[in-house]
Amino acid sequence: MLLGRVDAKVPLGPTMKETLTPASRAPDRSEHTPTKVLCAHCGLETLVRGKETWGLGSKAIAAEILAAERLSGRVVQDGSLRPGPSDQQESASKFFCCQGCMGAYSLIHQLGLENFYALRSLSDQESEPVPQVRASEILKDLTQAGVQVDAMGDGTCRVRLGVEGLHCAACCWLIESLPPTLPGLRSAQVRLSDQSLELIYDPSRTAPFRVAEYLARFGYALGPWSPEGTEDQTDGRLRREHWFWIAVAFFLAANAMWIGISLYAGESTGIASEHERFLRWVGALLGLLATVFPGRIFFRSAWQSLRSGIPHVDVPVATGLLVGTIGSLVGAATGRGHVYFDSLASLVLLLRVGRYIQFRAQYRSGVSIAKLLRFHDIEAIRLCEDGSRNVVLAKNLRPGERVEVRAGVTVPADGIVSSGQSELQTAFITGESRPQRVRVGDSVIGGSLNLSSTIEMTVERTVQEGRLGQISDWVQEATTDRTPLIQLADRVGRVFVWVILGLAILTAGFWSVSRGWEVSVERTVSLLTIACPCALALAAPLVITVAIGRAAKEKIWIRDGNSLERLAKPGLMCLDKTGTLTFGDLRVIDWSGPRELLLSISRIELESEHPVARALVDYGRSEFGAEEFDRRIDSVRVSQVRQEAGRGIYGRVDGRMVFIGRSETPIEQSDTSREVTVWVDGQSQGKFRLGDSIRPNLVSSLRQIRDRGWKLAILSGDDSPQVQQIADALSAGGVELVACHGGLSPEQKLQRLGELRSEGATAVMVGDGVNDAVALAAADVGIAVRGPCELAMKNAPIFIGERHLEAIPRLLDASRNAVRAIHRCFAASLLYNALTVGLAMTGYIHPLIAAIFMPISGITVLMMAWSARTFPHRQEKNS
């Protein structure tokens, strides 16, 4: 089969490295000076070295173009595509960062789908490297993958699969343009909102796995689409339910309103009495239907609230609906008094819309958390006892099973590495932006990304039960927290309900005695309708929920809503040094010596486990870039490596003896700043300066925090001069500290914290989630910026997973804006109610106007809450 053949020529993923035989790694590579170009497909900056680039001309490309031409040759019957040698020429000047991109480019081009690039440039997306995607093997067995296959009438099948790698219209268009090029595939429909794809195909001629293989070549990964999809599907169902009832309510309200208009018109111009009676009854019917069907939920929740004895917003609403309905029925029956069915129907509609908006807001914040942690569709390669492999969904893994994790793949479960070593990206859970190295025996966290090479691991817990699952549960729970402001709103809301009911009885009694029952009904209904504590009750939880959801999107995990409120008022912020202001481990600060020597040094230090060795290797890797480093390090031959404890390490490279270390004094562990010298054949060739380096942008981040009115203090356990250095650097940068203490024990930190907070302001502690646990827990708000997230979150309610201290100013802004928004909503709501209730009681507001105003006020307040600038949008990847 054609596809299979091409795939064999264009290996993807980790196997790519292996196809570069040592012969092609010729030493004369360095003769060409590298130039930087942009990848024609993904736009990634890439290095070009003479003819050995992934430019066109290499054999693999020729095969690729040949294949694509054949494809297009077949497709040309369709009339929509064209083959052409001109394409080859055109793309001959293009460069690519990898074979994947090149393959995708030539394929897209040959299929005549160049529009993709034009469309993509329209959509203003930031370019990012196209990931190396391989077709998910789990799709070979659809039943095991839990994919539901619907047989269609005409012998075709329909499946819905999840797609990864969708960005914009161009991706949509590309995927949907593909079916004619793949025999047996009838149609492909992308759904951007939940990143899924519906395929209709002929099962006798193709299979979803073949489609997945095909799409993988364009950089899209297909997988099972949340098979049980717990949250997504119930939310989808609820949303349909909401729409359903809004549609019904709208229909009833609109018709009732026309009838209402006819009646008003009839009143002023004269109308036959039988017509009037008819219109009244039709209106009554519509209004009744509206209260009975779409309005049912209000009665239900009012009834529940009465039974449980907790007053709820829906009690006055339901009472108003009830009084209005009865009054209007009597009115319609006797032909006297007013009929409010139009108002009732529109009231129900607007209430329903308000409910939907509220649901939407909650759903959205829920979605962002669920989306972020998509674990339902992670898949794993399970290693069986007999040595065979099969692909399973991560959630079906059992503890004790062994799993293979390839490079570029998400770790499918919590577990222990049983063979191989690699680097993992674990920032979301450790706050450490640098990759974490793992070797045999190290534990790995499900959800982290395997960056460099294949490892095998033994499963301990699935992701849901594991650490990531735990965190997401906490965050989810936090959104339902009753923070002080929410509690206040609840209390006020409860009192409010009783006050309104009392006022309603008063109004009804007063007006029925003085002006008769028709007037009394009218004014009571006005009062009950227009009084709306919902804004009061909804605003606070909504703001908090939305803020927590948006924070989670930025990898700021908030475990409790209270702390978000507390951060609103500036107070005192105490910072730990190690790991917070600095990186917290040894790194190379400075290297003076030839760059090429770094390779030999790294090669020797790879043999050592010493922290200094790790720092040097990391430095070498960062100097050359991981890819180049990995490629070149293997060709360095090293022998006779010998470590001398406390002094350094020897090794022979290319016949020269290299010594890295200290000749005179042994390296001391406690020393935070130290020097390491490199000797080649007895000649000093270069010098490393090592230390715990200060985090970048530290001064500017702290200045931003100070500009928001916060006082800053450093409380460190480290008694090195670095504490003072940082303080000096800060004051040079214009950031003054209230206090700066080094060498504190945890108890002393607590004591200092107590002294500093005595002024009554909020005391915030920012630190390492593990080492500063005590201080974090004792502070009013603990913010952990590092450490295993779930441990840190036990002590600190807030964990910053990305961007470190730089995220704090945003967090502070979000908090202040959230609390301000809540206050604004409260004020608006109370003012509105005081004003309108007074007017309604004295009879200045007609029920119809009340019905319009009530939801408008509610929605206004909800919009105010929703649009509160908590975490204003930065560039977001997914729409």
């Binding site: 929509s80 469309l119 949509c172 004619p180 009838r186 759904r191 349909r240 549609a247 017509h275």
Partner: protein, 57 residues
């Protein structure tokens, strides 16, 4: 004016037909994705739709 007695129920019935069509659309999930369509309109033509003749192997 007595045409009102026929016209009004008729109008409401017609409206109800529209309502039921809408309810059917909601139930069948047509409104589930409102994001892709707004993009799709930017694209001129879609050769990949099922009505295009299928390529023979």
């Amino acid at each position: 004016m007595s045409v009102l007695f026929i016209a009004l129920p008729l109008a409401i019935l017609l409206g109800a037909a529209g309502l039921f069509a809408c309810l059917y659309c909601i139930r069948s999930g047509q409104y589930d994705d409102l994001d892709s369509e707004s993009y799709r309109i930017l694209v001129d033509q879609q050769p990949g739709k099922s009505e295009s003749p299928e390529v023979q192997e």
